[in-house]
Symmetry: C2
Subunit: 589 residues, 2 copies
């Protein structure tokens, strides 16, 4: 694709690639590279510049460029490829940048089914890594058992818990027939067979509380059966009008935990423990810091008495609800008549419940937290490849052999450390294009190994973020350095995101301040007003008014500051009445 002229949309990322390649040439020169060793890097630089628009001062003379250019490879000529790597800068259009990063990194793409996306291999591997880590925490650390419940839920189940049906029944996929048949009017067309209409429609699960609690009824009999802790990894579907990949799609993948307890205290403790686990998990695995809090009554899950949330701050200053945990009280216990016999045999009590979940939305959180104008940035625990080694084979056979041997040894050593390593030895792709591709895909570390490196018993490291410069490292030390570096890289991403979160929360803003700052915030804007931590008197009507006036909602009442009693003695920033909570306001996806 480097041989096709760049479109206007391509330009910013092309310029970034040119700068990066120019830097590579410079550092090669500085390290005393011979003309021969320099040639491939210079060639790439010229080719990159050749994609600049006609008349651009950095564009090389046509003739010179043409002579050096190899015939385009079939892959490079792909129209799909040519359009897939352009990324609009965040500052120009944050929403478009988000879509572009997903496309350029090949995480996902839109599907022929309205509102659903296709998760491509790179995105699937990120999700599978995330899932494996979280599953271990859920099952081994918290003693929850996985199970699987039906996709389709009888319509009548949804009506059992009154609030729940209000919250969920509205927009969902309804199965009404169990057969298609050829249309008598046009046999090439298929229609739902009128003879195969279901007596009771089935709903594609928007969440599984109802069907799981109907099982709990027969699974729970004695206090010995409690707590009962079940988790399900599943696809769910909520019909959405406006969708964005990962953030909001009609169908999405998630885990949903459902627990039943003998006491309200036990259930509440579990709901809080799980939101704590989510917060720890997102930090440790996704380098994603969050504010842990409780939702205001109007933002609670349908059927919950308390909803805990982790809220993350995206690079445009908007919040993203990244996981929730609900204390259900006895709502589902009563709706599904789930009781247990206490140790006093004559007494039966209704059980208390929780539910908690995170979804593929977390991949959206990852993207909007760490990525930049060059593409995706991934923390090592969920990077499908953590290291890509690009061998620069040289021209002589003995050079090729030496590079090949060094690369094999290096890859083996890194894999021995448990790292996921890709050796990109495709001989039909130029080095610059490889660098550019793996940058877009967010691989934490690139290692280049050329003949001169081997001669000096070294290789060259380039981190995707954290360090601007390449660094030459001795081949004997590289495995240990990289292993340690991966941890530092994760810490760097986490600390950067923590700094942004801390800097993105304003304290002591007046309502007028907040309103004024948020007015400037548009959906596509970058680096917006952020979040506002303010004293607040809990009041649903005022909450609605603010939502109308500022498009801002209460993301949560953060647990830490509220438990410290920070709201005490303060007056509500909106009503002027005594504050009941410190509330975190902001715009949200």
């Amino acid at each position: 694709m480097l041989s096709t002229p760049a479109s206007a949309a391509d330009l910013p990322s092309l310029r970034a690639s040119i700068a990066s390649q120019a830097e590579a040439v410079r550092s090669l020169k500085e390290s005393g590279a011979s003309k021969e060793a320099l040639a491939p890097a210079v060639k790439e630089l010229l080719e990159l510049k050749g994609r600049l628009p006609e008349g651009d001062p950095d564009r090389p003379k046509p003739k010179q460029q043409k002579k050096k250019q190899p015939p385009p490879s079939p892959a490079a000529a792909s129209p799909a490829d040519a359009s897939s790597d352009s990324i609009v800068p965040r500052s120009q259009d944050f929403s478009q940048w988000y879509q572009d990063v997903i496309k350029a990194s090949e995480l996902a793409e839109s599907s022929p089914t309205r509102g659903s996306m296709i998760i491509k291999p790179w995105g699937m591997k990120v999700w599978d890594l995330l899932k494996k880590d979280l599953d271990g925490r859920i099952t081994e650390k918290h003693g929850v058992d996985n199970a699987y419940f039906p996709l389709l839920i009888p319509k009548s189940f949804l009506s059992k818990e009154a609030e729940h049906v209000d919250g969920f029944a509205k927009e969902c996929a309804v199965v009404t027939h169990h057969r298609l048949k050829a249309d008598p009017a046009d046999p090439a067309n298929l229609i739902p067979d009128p003879d195969a209409e279901l007596e009771e429609p089935l709903i594609v699960r928007p969440t599984s509380e109802t069907i799981i609690w109907s099982s709990f009824r027969s699974w729970i009999n004695s206090h010995r059966d409690l707590p009962l802790k079940i988790n399900q990894w599943a696809n769910v579907l909520r019909w959405e009008l406006r969708t964005r990949p990962f953030l909001r799609t009609s169908e999405f993948l998630w885990q949903e935990g459902h627990t039943a307890h003998a006491t309200g205290e036990g259930a509440l403790e579990d709901a809080r423990k799980m939101i704590g686990e989510y917060s720890q998990f997102t930090a440790e695995t996704l380098a994603l810091p969050t504010v842990v809090g409780v939702k205001s009554p109007s933002e609670r899950f349908a059927g919950a008495e308390e909803t805990y949330t982790i809220e993350a701050l995206m690079q445009n200053g908007w919040a993203l609800q990244s996981g929730t945990s609900h204390y259900l009280g006895q709502s589902f216990g009563k709706a599904f008549d789930v009781t247990y016999q206490t140790s006093d045999e004559s007494v039966r009590e209704t059980v208390y419940g929780t539910s908690w979940g995170v979804s593929t939305r977390l991949v959206g959180a990852l993207i909007m937290t760490h990525s930049d104008d060059a593409g995706l940035v991934l923390p090592p625990p969920v990077a499908p490849q953590q290291v890509v080694i690009v061998p620069i084979p040289g021209k002589k056979e003995e050079e090729k052999a030496a590079v090949g041997k060094a690369v094999d040894k290096l890859a083996g050593e890194l894999r021995g450390k448990g790292l996921r390593v890709k050796v990109d030895d495709r001989d039909w792709i130029r080095n610059g294009a490889k660098y550019y591709e793996w940058e877009r895909k967010g691989v934490p570390l690139r290692i280049e190994v050329g003949p001169r490196d081997v001669a000096k018993s070294q290789c060259v490291l380039k981190w995707r973020k954290m360090k601007e410069d390449k660094e030459a490292v001795g081949l004997d030390d590289v495995a240990a350095i990289v292993d340690k570096g991966m941890g530092e890289y994760h810490d760097f991403l986490l600390q950067s995101a923590r700094d942004r979160l801390a800097g993105g929360i304003r304290l002591d803003a007046s309502y007028e301040d907040m309103k004024g700052l948020l007015e400037k915030d548009e959906a596509g804007a970058f680096d917006g007003a952020g979040l506002f931590l303010v004293p607040w008197k809990c009041d649903a009507a005022n909450e609605d008014k603010i939502k109308e006036e500022c498009k801002a909602t209460i993301r949560c009442y953060p647990l830490d500051v509220n438990e410290m009693g920070m709201a005490e003695g303060k007056t509500c920033f909106y009503s002027g009445e005594p504050a009941t909570h410190m509330a975190l306001f902001g715009r949200a996806f």
Copy 2:
């Protein structure tokens, strides 16, 4: 539940438990146990016998039994429990036995959604272990990437591949609306909102060829993009009239691999490689031997040019198709216009495809291959717990401490070997009930540790199958013995199943022989006529006639005997014409 009288259906398993407990008492006596040490085992034996029907000679005197009986624990009094552990013998009713084993081992249960089952934690863990193993083979060994495609497929997609629509469009769940609303006539009732009818109905995927091939069209451009190998772990749904848990449910879990290749040879080779992998996987992981073969034209997958299959033999003599791999030729390539540019740039060719899948049906295969009248039997690779340690704490505090210490050490050593170990220290369940429960659930090995064992620095091993007798083993040697024993146990299960498969295939039967033997075969019967390997002239009309006359189908043309040319020179056992294949006939689930 031991305190409730056994129903007639319970009797066989009750007698098995009594025999096992009597054996335990005998071996305790033989090992010189004191009266005190013997007492708990004797008590359990008496309690078990107490469940025998009135008048049974083995039933103890009522008074004596009553005196010894502790108050029933709440869990034991559960009506759900009391009915969940009875297993009809295979010889009495094989179908009922299958259902009983699933219930008694808590693998799964029926759901409120017609035709779907609930996979309970024990069954889920079996599936998750199976899945993890197979996923490694698919992704790491065969270089296939996981991805995820939408659950709902536009109706029009199904019509694109003509044969495919005939095979799949008929019985599937059709989504016609995207919203429910309160019924104006009865606001407590919900109805599909007529204003939310979809313009084009969506189908819950019965399989994903259509939507995946529509993506392949944009993913494949050059020969460099081939082969493209994608796998998806997903739920699928095919509306089924008669369902059986795991074997045939409307919704089921599976993996579906889809590959695209530049040449027909490449695709065919891949289809065969994957059926070979399935065969290896089922043997190595599930101890399930299979016959690898190719389907007759009338049994092919809709849209395939060749369907490969692995067929297993269940204990009732019926075959179970356990995995299939399809060579699709260019059918989907043409239907979805998927072409690639060859290395000669001026030429574009249509790609060739394969698809292959296994499902939760494999859990059904496991059950019907290894399990017995006492319940589930699991090969170690997919046993949620491989070892259960039952501490028999004794009465004195120092005995309890010594047993606890020995058990902790033992569990740690076994876990250090990578084994999944459960310590069953529930103090409200009697030992006999524990033994009985873990036997039902198929745990390969039980280890008992009592005070006298600790004094002798030993413990007692009881394998679920393989060895009838308990064996005392020194505590210092037990970890190594168990580790080695797990492999032997797997080999024992595999070899037993291989012997049954080899013995279950009749050679050189005449058609009249086969018909006569199969006539005696009923659905619920145990130890049926088995399979028939016969010379056959490929003929769909004759195949239909045999199906009608014998309820038998061609399970496959086994690859090995056909590649050896075994059919050459033989005449068809049905038509008398020259044989084209050796065919494996039999009844099947």
